[in-house]
């Protein structure tokens, strides 16, 4: 769970966002 959350945060930060939306999670999910 923490891994998914941290990767979601990294993706959001990469997109200059301060909230993790499903769009960000969707990008990290396949590799997770």
């Amino acid at each position: 769970v923490v891994e998914a959350a941290v990767r979601g945060v990294q993706q959001a930060q990469a997109e200059d966002l301060d909230i993790v939306d499903v769009d960000q999670l969707e990008k990290v999910l396949p590799q997770l």
Partner: protein, 114 residues
């Protein structure tokens, strides 16, 4: 016979399949798995010239429904993944209130959590 290519097969391979200097893409590699939550700050390696790093998320738009199979069905994990991607697709339009939460919350018992 010994598990290696015969001379003839080797030449065929070299001619038809081998990625070489003459090719724009000289090789492919899967992304390195690393776990940031385990404080594993992997140095993002500079992609070496000509080596294409494959992306596991580039085609996610296709990954919200099972694609046709031939003789081997999709695995459980694949079906799980597809259904979560479908779920994400359905939730994408939701503003604040979460449909998943609304359906599941009535079943919450704190003793189950402890």
């Amino acid at each position: 016979k010994d598990g290696f290519l015969s001379e003839e097969e080797f030449n065929l391979w070299k001619r038809l399949y081998r990625l070489g200097d003459g090719d724009q893409v000289k090789g492919v590699v899967l992304p390195e798995p690393h776990f940031p939550s385990l404080q594993e700050d992997a140095m993002p390696k500079e992609p070496t010239a000509g080596i294409r790093q494959l992306s596991l998320s580039e085609w996610r738009l296709w990954q919200d429904h099972p694609l046709p199979t031939h003789q081997v069905d999709h695995s459980d994990r694949c079906h799980h993944f597809i259904s979560v991607m479908q779920m994400i697709e359905e939730m994408r339009q939701e503003e604040d209130e979460c449909s998943y939460e609304r359906k599941i919350k009535p079943f919450l018992r704190m003793e189950d959590v402890r």
